[in-house]
Symmetry: D2
Subunit: 138 residues, 4 copies
């Protein structure tokens, strides 16, 4: 992290009261931290809109491991993208259901494509991609 800059912003009093309520509700320490979070989230959202931006994705998958060949197919997909899929976390939800979170690195379009392939595997009940930053610019 580089130097810290400080600047003032002006706000309508009523708006600030509303914001302070939200800050408390969301457990922020202070206004600066809450505003920094809004700023960073808006930057991440914008950047992850361009297909060729370097990013990190986490894909959450819920599936029934009893479905024939499902685990094999998921493993195969992961290995065919082993340079992009950095890591995986597996949780046993109950006797039948598994949750898996995969961390993928690459351009936004690569991450989306790999995520589509994984979510599209027969037997995956629900899948969702989160695109986030590599941390570099924030």
């Amino acid at each position: 992290m580089g130097a810290t800059v400080r600047f003032g912003i002006s706000l309508d009093e009523k708006l600030l009261q509303n914001f302070d309520q939200l800050i408390e509700q969301k457990s922020y320490m202070n206004r600066s931290e809450a505003i920094r979070d809004l700023i960073r989230a808006s930057i991440v959202e914008e950047k992850c809109g361009s297909e060729d931006q370097e990013a990190v994705g986490t894909v959450t998958l819920v599936y029934n491991h009893h479905v024939r060949e499902l685990s094999d197919k998921l493993t195969e997909h992961q290995h065919s993208h082993h340079e992009q899929i950095v890591s995986a976390l597996h949780v046993h939800l109950d006797a039948h259901n598994c949750l898996e979170v995969l961390v993928i690195r690459g351009t936004v379009s690569t991450i989306k494509q790999i995520s589509h392939e994984l979510i599209g595997v027969k037997g995956v009940k629900h899948g969702k991609l989160v695109l986030t930053t590599t941390g570099d610019d924030l």
Copy 2:
């Protein structure tokens, strides 16, 4: 609008550079205005999460007006909620397709229910609800 309050926030220099780029891209006049927008958006998002909050909704519908009885059904739905549906805008997209935007007032749950009914009418090609503020608290 009430009194204006001013306070300082501190930010990492690199983050600020990134934010300033975003501000320019999004045509904001200055940082204060961009930050106020982020704050208001976060408050609106939070409020529109509670079912009993008073809000305003705009429902965008695209449909083919040649579909039998579709216009009649949409009109009927609108009249059965005439106390909530404040206003409507109709645009002729081409020889077949219409776009309609309806403005609905009520609690979040009422707005959602009316929106579901409209979007669910056979022949509506695409429908989307935006929940926003009545403007009171912001």
Copy 3:
């Protein structure tokens, strides 16, 4: 609309029960209509992800019309894009607050740019863009 095609899909019984509940809740007439809506929404979402796709946007703005020069600025923005901004609907929310919905035609990137400009105008309390289809392909 062209010819109608029919095909069968297979589903787990429990999943279908859950879906039938959702269908009722969302006021759909039947499963076909509900599934068509899901399909169309997924196509619209995908298409509106490409910047050069022709689309329609509706921008919902809430603002206080007492803010100095705000209405003028909004009108000016609209006129400088009069070829893209097809139509507008204005609703008086209360003594102070207005809601305006603008319908914009163009490529996804043009619509986003115009929407950014409008939402960024000082005094606009909340703004939100909905991207939808011109109706052509659905």
Copy 4:
């Protein structure tokens, strides 16, 4: 999984062509699987809208581990919710940045609250919650 039910749906030919393109793009094996995914996603989205629904959440956090006491604070938060936070995955993005994915079980409102607390910790650059199913109903 219970019995499999089969039923027919009818679609406009042009819409089906568009959908078939999307199916190929998203690597689905066949239409049934793609439609089942849309159905399940719509059910998950609806369910995760009710605060008291049992669900699973994955929270993706990106942070700089050099920030003083950040790791300690995150660990502390996790331990104070050890009954809900099932598991965690840690990835070293570069010399400074870490990505952590936490899996949380509980009601939707509990998951949201814990997620707010974690994302709100000073030094967390970006955080995002995905709400998904326990797998039971799908």
